[in-house]
């Protein structure tokens, strides 16, 4: 029997789900392997009571999300967290700083806080439940998604690259931004995107999260020696990694 797969979106831009539909060349192959039982974005129907694999996108921003996730964890044999929102909190986690009520005020004006019922400070899915697989990035990379999905379907372990981006960037023979005195976050960012941004002339903004192998202390020290103050580095890191450990100095 084909594994029953559900796709669940929390607070997000649906970008990772859109990326999942962006595997046009292979979409039909993949659909042939699974029984896609729930995907609100693409199909009518309800979240079934039983399923094997849950793909979860988005950040947790309400009590309802927390509850929903706990149920997902109890039900699903395997949980795949996709995208920066679900894994590090991503862009939505920028709003985790300070008081939520103030943000309501800023967006909705006076009395905005009334709408805030059930709202909590944004956090990643991984802060609420254990996940078996992760597809980082903002947005996710479709090839990587396919590889991880394939591992999940085969029941293989969830592996995620743990080293910084620079090595991959070298294989693309990019000119290092730091050589030109510009800050690039690749030196601490988890690899796996093929140094996409740098290869397109843009410094890495850290969307794949902080690599486990990263040496943040050394990065802060060497940037300071090159005239980039800690606050600047912290601010840049906080774009996708507000809640990640070690980038808050």
């Amino acid at each position: 029997m084909a594994p029953r797969v559900v796709v669940i979106g929390l607070a997000s831009d649906f970008g990772c789900q859109v990326q999942m539909t962006n595997i046009e060349d292979h979409l039909l192959d993949v659909l042939g392997l699974i029984d896609l039982t729930y995907w609100q974005l693409a199909s009518s129907g309800h979240l079934p009571a039983e399923y094997d694999v849950a793909i979860v996108e988005g950040a947790v921003t309400t009590e309802a999300h927390v509850e929903a996730l706990r149920r997902v964890r109890e039900t699903a044999g395997a949980v795949i967290a996709v995208g920066a929102c679900a894994i590090t909190g991503g862009i939505p986690a920028i709003a985790s700083a300070g008081e939520l009520a103030d943000r309501y005020g800023c967006v909705y004006g006076e009395g905005g806080a009334e709408v805030a019922c059930g709202r909590i400070a944004p956090m990643p899915v991984t802060a609420v439940i254990d996940v078996d697989y992760r597809v980082p990035g903002c947005p996710l990379d479709t090839d990587e998604f396919l590889r991880v999905l394939s591992r999940a379907l085969q029941g293989l372990s969830g592996r995620i690259p743990e080293e910084p981006l620079c090595a991959a960037c070298k294989t693309r023979e990019n000119i290092c931004f730091h050589d030109r005195g510009e800050l690039c976050l690749g030196l601490v960012t988890r690899t796996g995107c093929g140094a996409k941004c740098v290869s397109l002339g843009r410094a890495c903004t850290g969307c794949r999260g902080i690599a486990a192998d990263a040496n943040l202390d050394a990065a802060y020290a060497l940037l300071a020696s090159r005239g980039i103050p800690a606050e600047e580095f912290t601010r840049r890191l906080s774009l996708y990694n507000t809640l990640e450990e070690g980038c808050d100095r």
Binding site: H26, Q154, P164, T171, N215
Partner: protein, 341 residues
Amino acid sequence: MFFRVMDKARIADLVRGLSTEYEVIGPVAKGERFTFSVIEDPADLRLDFDTTILPPKKFFFPPEERMMRFRVADNEVVDDEAFASPRVLFGLHPCDINALLLMDNVFLGEFEDPYYKAYRDATLLVGVSCSPRETCFCNAWDTDEVHWGFDIFLTDLGDRYFVSVRSVMGAELLDRHVETSPITAEDTAEFQAVVREFKRAFPAKLDTSQLPLLLDAKFDDPVWDELGERCLSCGACSMVCPTCYCFDVRDDLDPDQRSGERKRVWDSCQFSEFSAVAHGQTFRESRASRVKYRYYHKQWGYLSKFERVLCVGCGRCTHACLADISPREVVTALVEGSEAR
């Protein structure tokens, strides 16, 4: 070996001629740096380059390479053919040619690697002389000279090249595609003068006395901890190194999950996963032990097998390392004591 001289302006003829039979690859500018790339127009060839970001190893051992295609159902190999089309690699400095010879020991020695061999067999090498930069220390390992391992070598004599021809193929190609003349006594004298000047231009020679022994004797030296604190564990040094050959192997399934390919990709001993075994045990847990291992293997492990050091002093890692860790610094710290830095 025999020798000719060739007008510098003739290099375009040679490249154009070779292009009729081969894919010609050589150094071209990329921003303020250089890369080995396919030469579409001889004017793009920049034989005055300093060094390239990646070494020529990418043409023999690509960053990501398919080893075989397979079928899952019966665990069968569908295709493991190693294929390479004929090409000429133009503009290798002596260090880069020496580096290939060191790679040969690994890939063409015991258990010949069919993929590397196919590329190697299909490629002719044209070397070119260089002038040392401040990060160069090839003279420390005697890799500033190269006596074999190339088909043609060009030494820059200002207005002309002193051409050393090592192989039959090299001789034939030269004959077919470019006008050269026999060398005169003056040419040879000038060649010697150029070589002498080249040797003089190096920064202070690196002291490597008793290096392999010191690596063991100072295995617990605090210098490694200090380096470990600075190292970013990014692996850039291994990627740009012409002699680093470690790789990881991965199976990627096609989207239909019925077939797929086994690939190898460049890896680095600076990553914590590199030495991890099942259940998460890692043999080189600390960053310090990983930095140390890179030098230990290059300066001693490889030497113990092949009687050469696994470094050609090209300085690429020095340039790539944002933490400014360089073989020059590490060797000096070991040989002269860390306070000497």
